[in-house]
C-alpha cells in the first residue's frame, strides 16, 4: 500500500460540506513585551471527511492554529479577529458551556507527547470512560463497555487489562493509542491532531499512522493534522497547508503541492529534506539561508522575502501579498506574487551510485571496536539489593577508517548512545576492546585519558539547549576548549577563537554572546566548533540534528560534510533518522537491543539483501514525496524491555520473517558478503537477497 493521498476520491468542491472554516482569524499572545501577533490572518476550510495537513517549522504558528480551533489558547493567548465556524456556528462567540459540549464531543484532539497528556494518577480506563459519561449521559457500565470496545479498535492487546493500567505502565505507542481512543470515543466530526507521532520511534510511528488512516475510513471524522514532518502528512492527508511565520503560504491537494510547489518556501523545505533515496554524492541538501524573523520585527510585504532566492525587489517587499489561486482545479492557493512566473520546481532525483568512496578502505581503521560490551546493573525497587543486568551494548565489533563517516542507526533503547558514552570515556566498557589510533581507550575513564587522547576524540551532542553553558559567553567556551585541548595559554587560545568561528560560519561578534541569544542551529555550530578546537581525528556526533528544524538541519549536515572533507577527520554519526544516515554515511551499522543487526557500506545496507529489521525500518520512514512508493511492513508489538531480552535473535519477537523456534532460541550467525556486508540473521543471505527494494 502506498500513500493513500492520491487515491482518495474527492467529491467536487461545490457539493462538499464544510466542517470547519477559519475566516481571517488572527491570534495574538499578550506578554510583557506587548502583543505578539503569532498568526496575523489565516483563512482555511476543512471539508467533511477530509484530512488537512498543516506543516511548518517550529514557531510558524501551526500548533497555535490547532489550539485556536479548539478555542484553547491558555491565559496569554486570544483570538483577536475573524471567525471560526465549526459546523456553521461561530466558535469565537460561544459561551464556555457551549464550548464544553463541543469539546470531546463533536470535536476532539490528539496531542504530542501522550505520556504527559494522560493523567498519571488515574487508570486509563477511568480517563476513557469520562468521555461518554460527560457527553452521552450513559451509565458507568455502558461507559466501561464503550471504552473497552474503543481500546479494541485501536488494536491494543488485552484491552480489559489496559483499562486498569496507569499511563506510566504503557509504552509510548500504547499511550498514543489510548489518547486516540479517547478522542474517538464520542465519534467526533472533527479531529485535531497536534504532532501525534513526534517523539515516537519510527516503527511505532508507522503503526500509529496506519491506525489513523484505518480509523479515518471507519469513523469519517475530518482531520486537521499538524506536523513538522512532511512525510507523515503525505501518509495521512488529502490536502496540505504550508505555514511560515504565522501565515499560510501555500495550500492545496497533496499531489499538486508536492509535484508542483509554487511557493519558494515550500520549495526550500522540500530541497532541504534528505530522502531515503538520495545521498551526499547524488545531490546536496540546500538549506534555506537566514532564519525566521522574530514576531515583533516582521518585514512588510512577503515575510519570506529576506530569505527567498526568487525574491524580486519591491514587488515582494512593498505591500502585503495576496493569496492567488493556481492551476486548473482551483484548490491550489499560493501567497506569492511570482506564483505564475516561477519555473516548474525540479526535485533532484537520485541517480544510482556505483560504489562508495572507498579509497580509504585499505588503510588500517582509526577506530576499532572489538566485541565491546556495556552492562548496567539495574536494581529493583527503591533500594533493591536484587536486580538484573541490562546489556545496553552487547558484543559490538565495528571499525571506522580515516575521513570516513560511520553511521549508527537504531530506535530508542538500541544502545547507540551508550556506545557513544563508552567511546567518550564518560562510561567504561564492561568487556571488549576500544582502540583509537592504536591506543586502548575502552577501559580508561575520561578523567584518566592522556591529553592527546582527549584531543583526538571529541563529541557533538544532541540537545542544543543543554550543549552550551548558559552562564558562559561563546568566546569563553571556545577559548577554554582550545586552551585545554591544545594545551596552550589562554592568551594564545583567544587568538584562535576567531578562526574557529569562521570555520563554522558564525559572525565574529558572537564571541561576546551567551547561548540564550543564539538560535538552535547557531548553538549546534558553536558545539561543533568546540569539538573541533583540538583538531580531533575523530568526531562523535550523537543525534546532532534531531532537535533542529529541517532547514537548519540541512545547513548543519552540510557543515559536517564540509568540515570532514577539509580536515579528513573521521565522523561517527549516531542517529535514529534513516534518511539523514542514508544521506551522510559511508558505512552504516543498524543496531537493535544492543546488537549490530546489519553492517555495511551505505549502498549495501540500503539495498537487498536486507536484514528483516532494516527492511522494516526503511518501510516505516515517512517520505515527503507522494510519488515514491514504499513497501509497507508492519511491525507488531513493542521493543522488548531490557530485562526480558529474547534469548536468541533480539528481533525475533517482532520479526515478520521469523522462520521458527531457532530464531527464539539461538543467536543468529553473522553472515558476511565478500564486500564486507554483514547481516546477523538465520535466513541465508542468498534468500534475503531476493527481497525487492523497499523504496522505489
Amino acid at each position: 500500500m502506498s500513500s493513500n493521498a492520491a487515491a482518495t476520491l474527492e467529491p467536487s468542491v461545490e457539493t462538499r460540506k464544510a466542517i470547519l472554516e477559519l475566516r481571517n482569524v488572527s491570534i495574538s499572545y499578550f506578554v510583557r513585551a506587548g502583543e505578539l501577533k503569532v498568526v496575523p490572518n489565516i483563512s482555511l476550510t476543512l471539508y467533511e471527511g477530509e484530512a488537512l495537513g498543516l506543516v511548518g517549522e517550529s514557531g510558524c504558528g501551526k500548533s497555535t492554529v490547532a489550539f485556536a480551533i479548539m478555542k484553547y489558547l491558555g491565559g496569554a493567548g486570544r483570538i483577536t479577529g475573524g471567525q471560526i465556524l465549526f459546523e456553521g456556528r461561530d466558535m469565537t462567540k460561544m459561551s464556555d458551556e457551549e464550548l464544553r459540549k463541543l469539546r470531546g464531543g463533536r470535536m476532539a484532539m490528539v496531542y504530542q507527547d501522550p505520556m504527559s497528556s494522560l493523567n498519571p494518577v488515574i487508570p486509563v480506563g477511568k480517563q476513557l470512560m469520562e468521555v461518554p459519561l460527560i457527553h452521552s449521559n450513559v451509565s458507568e457500565d455502558e461507559a466501561y463497555k464503550r471504552a473497552l470496545q474503543m481500546l479494541q479498535e485501536v488494536n491494543l492487546p488485552d484491552p480489559a487489562r489496559i483499562m486498569t493500567r496507569y499511563p506510566h505502565q504503557l509504552s509510548g505507542g500504547q499511550q498514543q493509542r489510548v489518547v486516540i481512543a479517547m478522542a474517538l470515543m464520542s465519534e467526533p466530526s472533527l479531529l485535531v491532531m497536534d504532532e501525534p507521532t513526534t517523539g515516537l520511534d519510527v516503527t511505532v510511528e508507522a503503526a500509529v499512522l496506519d491506525l489513523v488512516a484505518q480509523l479515518r475510513q471507519k469513523h469519517h471524522s475530518s482531520i486537521v493534522f499538524i506536523s513538522h514532518n512532511l512525510g507523515t502528512v503525505v501518509r495521512i492527508c488529502d490536502r496540505i497547508g504550508v505555514m511560515y511565520a504565522g501565515e499560510l503560504v501555500e495550500e492545496g491537494p497533496i499531489g499538486e503541492v508536492f509535484r508542483d510547489p509554487r511557493h519558494p518556501y515550500t520549495r526550500g523545505l522540500l530541497n532541504c529534506i534528505p530522502t531515503l533515496n538520495a545521498d551526499k554524492r547524488s545531490r546536496p541538501l540546500s538549506a534555506i539561508p537566514g532564519q525566521v524573523p522574530p514576531i515583533l520585527n516582521r518585514p512588510p510585504g512577503c515575510i519570506f522575502a529576506p530569505r527567498c532566492s526568487d525574491a524580486d525587489g519591491p514587488r515582494c517587499t512593498a505591500a502585503a501579498i495576496p493569496t492567488a489561486t493556481y492551476g486548473g482545479t482551483g484548490q491550489h492557493r499560493v501567497k506569492c506574487v511570482r506564483v505564475a512566473e516561477l519555473p516548474k520546481h525540479v526535485r533532484p532525483t537520485s541517480t544510482a551510485v556505483d560504489t562508495v568512496a572507498n579509497e580509504f578502505t585499505t588503510q588500517p581503521p582509526i577506530l576499532d571496536l572489538d566485541h565491546v560490551k556495556k552492562t548496567y546493573h539495574q536494581a529493583i525497587g527503591m533500594f533493591g539489593g536484587s536486580g538484573y543486568d541490562v546489556h545496553a551494548v552487547d558484543d559490538i565489533t565495528l571499525a571506522a577508517r580515516k575521513s570516513e563517516t560511520l553511521a549508527i542507526v537504531g530506535e530508542s533503547g538500541c544502545g547507540k548512545s551508550t556506545l557513544a558514552k563508552v567511546l567518550t570515556g564518560i562510561e567504561l566498557a564492561s568487556g571488549g576492546k576500544v582502540t583509537l589510533a592504536g591506543k586502548d581507550i575502552g577501559n580508561t575513564a575520561v578523567e584518566k585519558r592522556d591529553s592527546d587522547t582527549k584531543r583526538s576524540i571529541q563529541m557533538v551532542f544532541q540537545n542544543p539547549e543543554s550543549t552550551l553553558n548558559p552562564s558562559h559567553t561563546i568566546g569563553y567556551v571556545m577559548e577554554r576548549a582550545i586552551k585545554k585541548l591544545k594545551q596552550i595559554s589562554g592568551k594564545e587560545a583567544r587568538v584562535q577563537v576567531n578562526d574557529l568561528l569562521k570555520t563554522v560560519n558564525l559572525p565574529l561578534e558572537f564571541a561576546a554572546r551567551k547561548s540564550r541569544q543564539l538560535s538552535g542551529g547557531q548553538k549546534q555550530r558553536v558545539a561543533i566548533a568546540r569539538a573541533l578546537a583540538g583538531e580531533p581525528e575523530m568526531i562523535l556526533a550523537d543525534e546532532p540534528v534531531s532537535a533542529l528544524d529541517v532547514s537548519v538541519q540541512a545547513a548543519i549536515i552540510n557543515l559536517l560534510v564540509e568540515i570532514q572533507r577539509k580536515r579528513g577527520s573521521t565522523l561517527l554519526f549516531i542517529s535514529h533518522d534513516l534518511s539523514v544516515v542514508r544521506y551522510l554515511a559511508d558505512h552504516v551499522a543498524v543496531m537493535y537491543l544492543g546488537k549490530v543487526m546489519e553492517f555495511g557500506s551505505v549502498t549495501d545496507v540500503f539495498a537487498p539483501p536486507y536484514h528483516p529489521y532494516t527492511e522494516a525500518l526503511m518501510s516505516a520512514v515517512p517520505i515527503a514525496d507522494p510519488d515514491v512508493k514504499q513497501r509497507r511492513i508492519i511491525l507488531e508489538g513493542n521493543i522488548p524491555s531490557p530485562q526480558n531480552r529474547p534469548k536468541g535473535c533480539p528481533f525475533a519477537t517482532r520479526c515478520p520473517r521469523k522462520i521458527g523456534a531457532i530464531c527464539d532460541d539461538t543467536p543468529p550467525p553473522e553472515q558476511v558478503s565478500p564486500a564486507g556486508h554483514r547481516i546477523a540473521c538465520h535466513i541465508p543471505m542468498a534468500e534475503l537477497a531476493t527481497a525487492t527494494q523497499v523504496v522505489f
Binding site: 469539546r103 470531546g104 484532539m109 498519571p120
Partner: protein, 313 residues
C-alpha cells in the same frame, strides 16, 4: 512496601542512635561538667571529684553512654534538677497539653492551607492568587513572638475578648477554648503561609500540565477539572511538606508557650534549658527527634500511596 518500611525503620533506629550519642556527647561527655553544675560554682574541686565518683562519672565514656541509653530505653529518663522530681512524672502531662495545642493548630493548618493553596494556584496571576500569595508571605515573615504581641494588644488589651495567658486553669473565668484561641492563631499564622505557598506552587505546576489541557478539551467543567484531575496530582508534592510541619510545630510550641505561659512541653524544655536541667532537655530532645523522624516515615509512606508511579515501580 514492607521492605521499604523495614528499611525506613532501620534507618530511624540508626538516626535515633546517632542523635542520642550526640545529645549524650553534648551534655555528659566531660565528666566535670555535670557535677560542677549540680554543686554550683563555689564548690571545691575536691567536692566535685567526690560527686563524680559517687555518680560514676569517672567511668569510661562508652560504659556511661550504654548505661544512659539503657536507662532511657527502659523509660528511666532521669531526675529533673529544676522540678525536683523524676522527669517521667512531669513530661507526660506537659506532652498532653502540647498535643492539644499543636494538634488543634495542625487541624486548622492542613485544611485551610490546602483550600487557600488550591484557590490561589488554580488561576495563576489572578487577584485571588496575588492576595493569598502576598498575604501568606507576610504572615510567615512575622515571628511568633511578634504576632503574639500584636494579637495580644488587639484582643487582650484593647478589646479584652481573650486572656493574655493560657495557663489552662479555668478558675480565672476563661474557658479552655478561649485560652487556646490566641496560641493556636499565632501558630497557624506563622506556619500556614509556608504550606499555602507549597500547595499553591504545586497546583500552579499541575495546572500547566498537558493532562489538564486534555481534561478541559474532553469537555469537563472547570470544577470537575480541578476536583478530578488537578487536586490529587497537586497534593503529591506538598504531602511530605505538610507532614514536615510537625517538625516546625515543635519549634513553634516552644515560642508560643513562652508567649502565653502555656504549661506545655515547649515551656518545660525552655525552662529546663535556662536552668541547665540536663535530664529534662535530653528527654525532650530525644522525644522531639523521634516525633520528627516518625513523621518523615509517615510522609514517605503517604507519598507512595498517592503516587502510582512509585507504588507500581
Amino acid at each position: 512496601m514492607l521492605a521499604f518500611l523495614s528499611k525506613r525503620i532501620a534507618l530511624l533506629a540508626f538516626t535515633m542512635l546517632v542523635v542520642s550519642a550526640l545529645v549524650f556527647a553534648a551534655f555528659e561527655f566531660t565528666p566535670g561538667q555535670v557535677a560542677r553544675k549540680v554543686l554550683g560554682p563555689f564548690a571545691t574541686q575536691n567536692q566535685v571529684d567526690i560527686l563524680n565518683e559517687k555518680m560514676g562519672l569517672n567511668r569510661p565514656v562508652i560504659v556511661r553512654y550504654s548505661e544512659w541509653l539503657g536507662n532511657t530505653l527502659t523509660g528511666d529518663l532521669g531526675f529533673s534538677t529544676l522540678y525536683k522530681t523524676e522527669v517521667n512524672s512531669i513530661i507526660w502531662d506537659r506532652l498532653g497539653n502540647t498535643l492539644l495545642l499543636a494538634g488543634t493548630a495542625f487541624a486548622v493548618i492542613v485544611p485551610l492551607s490546602i483550600i487557600l493553596g488550591i484557590a490561589a494556584g488554580m488561576r495563576e496571576g489572578s487577584i485571588l492568587d496575588r492576595s493569598i500569595s502576598v498575604g501568606s508571605i507576610v504572615t510567615t515573615s512575622v515571628p511568633e513572638f511578634a504576632s503574639g504581641v500584636f494579637l495580644a494588644s488587639i484582643f487582650v488589651i484593647w478589646l479584652g475578648w481573650l486572656p493574655g495567658t493560657s495557663s489552662l486553669d479555668t478558675g480565672a473565668g476563661w474557658s479552655l477554648w478561649q485560652q487556646l484561641i490566641l496560641p493556636v492563631t499565632v501558630m497557624v499564622l506563622y506556619d500556614l503561609g509556608y504550606v499555602v505557598r507549597m500547595v499553591r506552587a504545586s497546583m500552579v505546576e499541575v495546572m500547566t500540565r498537558p493532562y489538564i489541557r486534555t481534561a478541559v478539551l474532553k469537555g469537563l467543567s472547570f470544577r470537575a477539572v480541578i476536583m478530578k484531575h488537578a487536586l490529587r496530582n497537586a497534593m503529591i508534592a506538598p504531602f511530605t511538606v505538610i507532614l514536615l510541619q510537625i517538625n516546625y510545630l515543635i519549634t513553634g510550641v516552644v515560642v508560643v508557650e513562652a508567649v502565653f505561659a502555656y504549661p506545655g512541653f515547649g515551656r518545660m524544655l525552655l525552662e529546663a534549658a535556662l536552668s541547665q536541667d540536663v535530664a529534662v532537655v535530653e528527654a525532650a530532645a530525644l522525644f522531639a527527634v523521634l516525633v520528627s523522624v516518625s513523621t518523615q516515615i509517615a510522609g514517605d509512606l503517604g507519598y507512595m500511596m498517592l503516587n502510582p508511579r512509585i507504588r507500581f515501580s
